[in-house]
């Protein structure tokens, strides 16, 4: 007995060959677009820029090394201070004050409830005649978010860049000397060069998330940019966050701690 195969209706050879052909045409189109866009960026880089880029990279490597050295030194100092605790009452009290000052200054890792915020460039294509910078996260957006968080009661804040996996590996702790600064469309936080998506974590009392979302510093500019230009934004409260300590210099070069003396008014230079 012989079995006859059913007639092929859906996938006759010409039909799928056409589908594959169309698919390959699409691939060709996208590949060409991608090649062109990468060429455009490469052409933009002149030899002078390459030298400057190389110098920046060298300085960044140097900075990483120095920051690692400072983190190690701070760790060793904290060990000394803990080891000497209890040897004398006065010293023990001094070390308690020191621990409290380190906590207040942002030099200690901290843990507590808070909020996580992520903000990234818009995925919308930039319409002709509009400014591309409207569609990317700007330094003003991060400053406004920072302002709204502090004003809403945040006690500790970090900003990380380029992390999408929920691990803030390059998180920069915001301290008294932190500047959030824009160089072109790039953003420096504590002199670290961060790129989007930006992840902001803040520890603060209950209701921090709601107060932040309702704060005029958030609603005034950045919330409108999210709405109008489609900047990617997400935020949520968290029961427990751990924020790393600030790594950097705490030494004053141009000033000295004020001893207990009467305050003087400024003396302008002649």
């Amino acid at each position: 007995m012989t079995r006859r195969l059913p007639p092929r209706k859906r996938f006759s050879r010409p039909a799928w060959a056409v589908s594959v052909g169309i698919g390959l045409a699409v691939i060709g189109f996208i590949a060409a677009a991608q090649w062109n866009s990468s060429l455009g960026r490469q052409e933009f880089v002149t030899s002078a820029q390459r030298v400057l880029v190389s110098e920046v990279q060298q300085l960044q490597r140097q900075q990483e090394q120095l920051r690692a050295e400072i983190a190690d030194a701070e760790h060793r100092l904290a060990e000394f201070q803990e080891a000497s605790e209890g040897s004398q009452t006065a010293l023990a009290r001094l070390n308690e004050q020191l621990a409290a000052a380190r906590l207040a200054a942002g030099l200690t890792d901290v843990r507590g409830p808070g909020v996580v915020i992520e903000i990234a460039d818009s995925l919308r294509p930039v319409p002709e005649g509009e400014r591309p910078t409207d569609y990317i996260v700007l330094v003003d957006d991060l400053r406004d978010i920072m302002t709204a968080l502090w004003a809403s009661g945040a006690e500790a804040i970090t900003i990380a860049g380029g992390s999408t996996d929920g691990v803030a590996a390059n998180a920069e702790r915001i301290v008294a000397t932190t500047s959030i600064y824009g160089v072109g469309s790039s953003i420096l936080v504590n002199t670290a060069f961060l790129s989007p998506p930006f992840r902001i974590e803040a520890i603060g009392p209950e209701g921090l998330h709601d107060r932040f979302l309702a704060h005029p510093s958030f609603l005034g500019r950045v919330a409108q940019r999210i709405e109008v230009f489609g900047l990617q934004f997400a935020s949520e409260p968290r029961d427990e966050l751990t924020l790393p300590a600030f790594v950097g210099t705490t030494q004053l070069r141009w000033g000295a701690p004020l001893a207990d003396e009467p305050e003087a008014s400024p003396e302008p230079d002649e």
């Binding site: 991608q34 400057l52 000394f80 020191l98 808070g114 502090w150 004053l252 004020l258 003087a264």
Partner: protein, 223 residues
């Protein structure tokens, strides 16, 4: 058999198209490479990084010295009071817990500025290397920000007037140059805000301690 080949071919093609589309979308996002910056922006970045690295290098040297003090005290059988007190002074001055005296600039700002202009100024000064800042006698700690409250600008709950005095400790020339550079903060103020600014350098200014409570109530140290 032929049907399976067709499905497999379509699957491979679809997968390839998907991968290319993802690549294309990513390439349309902001180019984050340094090569996307202009020569002028790179020069500015280099200047910032160089200044930061000098500060970091000094900071590392000071910390090494503190460690040596502790080690010396340990060897000589002395207590560690002196290095601990020095560390406390340094950290307290850095955070704003104590006042600071030093060189810097005095700014008088008068006009119709808003909280954003004040916060931007603080970031400009910090980026230019300001080590301690006060605005109308209010020490700017990490969380001290200008906000609009009850129709007036407030910092740490204290209102500012239409004319404010800003003190910043740091390199007097460096701070002044950073604010007065073309396209810098003063140029921005003159262009967009009706405000008058005067800057004078000073060899001795005093920035007070903060009145804000810096000890966190919710954030606890990680043991």
């Amino acid at each position: 058999m032929s049907r399976r080949v067709a499905q497999a071919s379509l699957f491979v093609v679809a997968l390839f198209i998907g991968a290319l589309l993802v690549g294309q979308l990513r390439s349309q996002a902001r180019p984050i490479e340094l090569s996307s910056l202009s020569a002028q922006e790179l020069s500015e970045l280099i200047e910032t990084l160089q200044a930061a690295n000098v500060d970091l290098s000094d900071g590392a040297a000071n910390l090494r010295e503190e460690i040596r003090d502790y080690e010396l005290a340990d060897i000589q059988g002395q207590d560690a009071m002196t290095p601990a007190r020095e560390a406390l002074d340094r950290i307290s001055a850095f955070s704003g817990l104590t006042g600071v005296r030093g060189q810097g600039i005095v700014m008088q700002l008068e006009g119709s500025f808003d909280p954003v202009a004040i916060n931007d100024l603080v970031h400009e000064l910090r980026n230019a290397g300001a080590e301690a800042i006060s605005i109308d006698g209010i020490r700017i700690a990490a969380g001290s920000v200008a906000v609009l409250g009850n129709g007036v600008i407030e910092i740490d709950g204290r209102p500012l007037g239409r004319s404010v005095e800003i003190l910043a400790i740091g390199s007097p020339r460096g701070l002044q140059a950073a604010l007065e550079r073309p396209g810098g903060y003063l140029a921005f103020l003159q262009q967009f805000i009706d405000a008058r600014v005067t800057i004078t350098t000073s060899q001795s200014i005093v920035v007070p301690a903060t009145e804000r409570v810096l000890t966190p109530t919710v954030a606890r140290p990680v043991e």
